[in-house]
């Protein structure tokens, strides 16, 4: 079985995000980039399938500027076999255009299973997986917390509001990964050293048919400070009143 993992490089969760002077993108100065945490679940799951003898090869595919090579090297260090960077000059806010460049390449590749994050923590559209499955004409199960592969037979557990459902499908298919699926490994230093020596295969591509663009970015409203109502039992009545009348949560 051949696995393709689609991953995205995103700003670190702790990064101090600043809007660029153009007002339409974020400034990358001083920002650390990491592999999208949900993509990490996909990488880990692929490696576990390979370790269990169920997969023969894993190729990680990503897109974006040159710096994305670092994320792909981390994937190599974790244990994927090959990496491919679809180099674009920028990112597209149009998920369909993004799914388009992935689909165009994936159509030329062999695969039985495509694993990816359920969403990215930067744009968070949650659309790439389902869109890619349409473009490749294969099934897709999203928000997966458990994956069992037995030959062509695939059984997954996915999260739904207030519970979970078990879905059966068959390869080839796309699975988008949710927290809880596994605990991603820290890449071994031996892996890091080996990854350093490997070349990241790069292909220049461009987005086509973009129908969405960012007009303006703005910061969320600053959160107001917490309020100390009082101390002890006397404060309870006032707290309840405030929760009911001001916060309107009761």
């Amino acid at each position: 079985m051949k696995i393709i993992v689609c991953l995205k490089q995103v700003p670190d969760t702790e990064a101090n995000i600043k809007i660029d002077t153009n007002g339409k993108s974020i400034s990358e100065a001083g920002i650390k980039f990491i592999i999208n945490p949900y993509s990490e679940y996909a990488i880990e799951e692929a490696i576990r399938l390979k370790e269990a003898g169920k997969a023969e090869s894993i190729t990680a595919v990503s897109w974006g500027p040159e710096r994305v090579s670092e994320a792909l090297k981390t994937a190599l260090a974790m244990g994927v076999d090959d990496v491919l960077l679809l180099k674009t000059d920028s990112y597209s806010v149009d998920s369909f255009a993004t799914a388009g460049i992935l689909a165009a390449k994936l159509k030329t590749m062999e695969y039985d299973l495509i694993l990816m994050g359920k969403e990215t923590i930067d744009d968070g559209s949650m659309q790439i997986g389902p869109m890619l499955s349409e473009l490749l004409n294969i099934p897709c199960v999203t928000v997966v917390t458990k994956l069992d592969v037995d030959g062509e037979h695939v059984t997954v557990k996915r999260e739904v509001e207030g519970g979970s459902e078990i879905i059966e499908t068959s390869t080839p298919c796309i699975i988008t990964c949710q927290k809880g699926l596994n605990e991603p490994r820290y890449p071994s230093i031996r892996g890091v050293m080996m990854a350093k020596k490997k070349q990241v295969t790069t292909e220049q591509v461009s987005f086509e048919g973009e129908n969405l663009s960012i007009n303006k970015l703005s910061y969320p409203a600053a959160r107001s400070e917490g309020k100390v109502v009082g101390e002890g039992a006397d404060a309870v009545a006032e707290l309840v009143r405030l929760l009911r009348e001001e916060a309107k949560v009761l």
Binding site: D12, E14, N16, E183, Y186, S188, I189, V192, M193
Partner: protein, 661 residues
Amino acid sequence: MLNLFGQIVLLLCILASTGFFFLEVRKRYRLVKTGLKDEKRWDKPVKRLGFVVARVATQLCSIKDRPVVGVMHAFVFWGFVFFTVATINHVGGAFGKGFSLWGKGLFNDLWFLGVDIIAVFCIIGTIYLAVRRYFVKPIAITKPMPISRSPQSAIVLSLIFGLMLTYLLNQGAEIILIGESFAKWMPFTRATVPLMAGMSAGSLHILNSFFWWSHILMVLAFLVFIPHSKHFHLLAGPINIFLRSHDPIGTLKKVDFEKVEEFGVTNVNQFQWKNIIDFFSCVDCGRCQDVCPAFQSDKALSPKVIMMSLRKHILHESDNLLSGNAPAEPVMDKWITADEIWACTTCGACMEACPVSNEHIPTILELRRAQMMMENKFPQELNPAFKGLETNSNPWNMGSSTRADWTEGFEVPIMAEKQEVDYLWYVGCAGSFDDRGKEISKAFAKILNKAGVSYAILGEEEGCCGDPARRVGNEYLFQMNAEQNIETFKQYKFKKIVTCCPHGYHILKNEYNEFGGQYEVVHHSQLLAELISSGKIELTQNGNGIITFHDSCYLGRYNQIFDEPRSILRAATKQEIVEMPRAKTKSFCCGAGGGRMFMEETEGKRINHIRVEEAQKTGAATVGTACPFCMSMFDDGIKEKGIEDKLKVQDIAQIIANAMS
């Protein structure tokens, strides 16, 4: 004197015994030679020799941590030294009547007096040690089972006892046979005479021969036994003390990622040759585990077991190693378990206590390195710490841009603006991100400002010193951190670096130089002491009550800073410090060192609880600390035990800041 037949038999016995002895010693020597190179062991030979004499001849090595046992051991040691020479006389007597190395005269008489006295003291020593081992049974030598249940000690104690007894009886018989002239000054030998009084000359001759032969045969048996047993420490111990590292405890060797592809120790043939002498030197005395915070809190680790297990392992693999083959099995899992190596807090108490100067911590950390970097096996709690160190250069993974947020509302100069200062204050991760650590930083900033010290911090440019990564074996990440910091330091002019954290202090001072970073580093306790003695800060208030001081391992045992924190606490409180029973070089770790700060402590008791209890027993109202990790561990311990009203913990900087008007 023996007849020709006796002489031949004796010579054959000596030949066989020394032959077996040298064969085994040679085997062990060849095993040591299979170790990897290690250059820093022969420098300053005179100083090294001096240290061996100061430790071994005086037996301070054994006495310093266990006075009574140590003195008894000294009796046996000196017995051994005297009898090694006496054996030459003994054998010489077989070939020439009345042979003595010293001929006849006063010196010869004095020599026999010495041997006579030493023999008795040696008997006292062996009896004491046997009673202790087999009746008192201290934990140090009986636990953990079953590794300490070896008959080796019984064999050795019986042999020594037998040697002394047969010597005295043999000499006693000689007195009767030769006459009083033989025993000018041999008071104890003379005491055996009445035991043989009234026997016929014939029986006396037989008895004399019997004692004579028993004595020499025991000597020769002992010689064969020594290199096969832990009593090889007779040879390996002094050599090991000579070869001891002159670096601070636990200082690690650089891994050159450009050159090597195997990191740390996976197989026993990856140790350095000095490590192997360590394994052969361990005598199972248990001084290390008596002071080991992991062992004392019922965790899997005992430093002596690490040494003894590796000795067993390397002997088990000796055929492979000596024929140049790879060991049949790796060190980890069968010979040493993960629980053992990850329990170590790298506090250095074991190395401080070890009478034969074994270096347990580098050995444990080399095993961690291989587990971490080659096998990717390590406590999973370290995952987020590694990610944090990698992306945000701090183990809590807080945004690196928020590193200087603690300075809000304070006048704290930034290096980028100052460019040149006297003191570059390396704040460190705890001082920048941990709530309790930030309080230390604020107090120290307040003091520096008031004293008018020329200083600045790096702010966002600062990165983790790399200690948490290095101590858990992630050398790669450590080097990333270190190189980044060294690059940053290069941009600015400063005379000294000051740190509030002993971990940063130690690593910047002692471990960055291998990467091109040579700095004069001072700990804030040193700078504070200087500011107080030069009158730059005035201490007027005292609200701390009785105070005790907890020595941080990396400040105390690692870097010998004991007096400065105490002197400033005395100045701040205007009274003496109440010491805990375990203080200074014997201080008991808080439990956070060696990356343990970022791991769960699920096995056994909590180390910080043990230390908090010890501090509480002093009756002090405040524990002074000089390390943000120690402070955290104390703070947690005090809260978990619910004794906040009885005991509080404060960094020395906070105590000083409070005492300033």
